[in-house]
Subunit: 191 residues, 2 copies
């Protein structure tokens, strides 16, 4: 059956747009019925997202875990968005390096443990990269925020129940964050 | 605090790439500290995904629901991908129209009920569109498949437990589908 579904690479690729963060290629592939087509592929660096968990502490009256998030303007939606700390994997970095760096830069925290809980393609239809989700535990505030010139953000601490209520709505409108939260719930055996 | 986070539109927008499905604009915005920057925005049509649920039928030995999915080659990942029926909202269509059409074209089924269970931005960082998820119930096979010239796909029926096991891994590697499945679990009060 795969022969009826698989497209073949012809080796012909043209870069049709070069941008500051990602490029667009036309990748010429041969369809299962033998016709050649230029298909649009967005070549992007891999992404990482870190879910920084601050555990429940019932003896101090904190009955559920909370999470560090960042609130920032996003240029695609043209609106404010509340997200877990996230960013692209820079050249020479591993995904884990990028996770450590983004957590530090966007929250000022360092984690004793960074556990990979998900690795996925943001959209196989046109993206060629992967998005890896890490759960950060054992958090300590070690640094001041260290933001890029164009980053303006506010750090939030959001309870588990507030995330369950809001995720996917209002300022929590990022599909990437919803799938990160799915990995968290799966890791914690809630689903 | 919003004044420290909000970017302002300057009204200046240039289309920097025009593609067959989406375009790229440089949207000039003023940062919270007053500098103007061209920001990359991907202008894409809205998307819909349909989760076609075939209910459990214990009297016939079917102990759990199953779902219609499609297996197809995806040009971003360059690999086969198992996904719920999905596509873009065509000009003149509502999201619901597109959901009815995609379900019929990719599976040959018609639903008595299409329930909107999620509406989200695929990636607020650079996408300007929305992705709406519908749950399809009361399914009847009414049509043959009706595929675009460049669509080659295989229809699958996948059990609920198989989706829970595989979602986000292997051929089930689409972040968009993971967030659709999150909406389904939330709608069914599993999470």
């Amino acid at each position: 059956m795969n022969r009826k579904l698989m497209w073949k690479d012809t080796g012909k690729v043209e870069q049709v747009w070069k941008g500051p963060v990602f490029n667009i290629d036309a990748v010429h592939r041969q369809s299962p019925d033998g016709r050649e087509h230029p298909m649009v592929v967005c070549r992007a660096p891999d992404w990482v997202t870190v879910i920084p968990e601050l555990p429940a502490d019932p003896s101090a009256g904190k009955e559920e875990p909370s999470f560090l998030m960042v609130r920032q303007f996003r240029h695609g939606s043209g609106s404010l968005s509340c997200e877990f700390p996230a960013g692209v994997v820079d050249p020479g970095e591993t995904s884990l390096d990028a996770a450590v760096r983004e957590l530090r830069e966007e929250t000022g925290y360092t984690a004793d443990q960074l556990i990979e809980i998900g690795n996925i393609n943001p959209n196989p239809a046109f993206m060629d990269n992967t998005s890896t989700t890490y759960l950060a535990r054992g958090l300590r505030k070690t640094h001041d925020l260290d933001l890029d010139d164009n980053e303006f953000l506010e750090r939030l601490e959001v309870s588990s129940s507030a995330i369950m209520e809001k995720m996917g709505t209002g300022e929590y409108h990022s599909a990437i964050m919803v799938q990160c939260w799915y990995w968290y719930l799966k890791y914690c055996r809630t689903i």
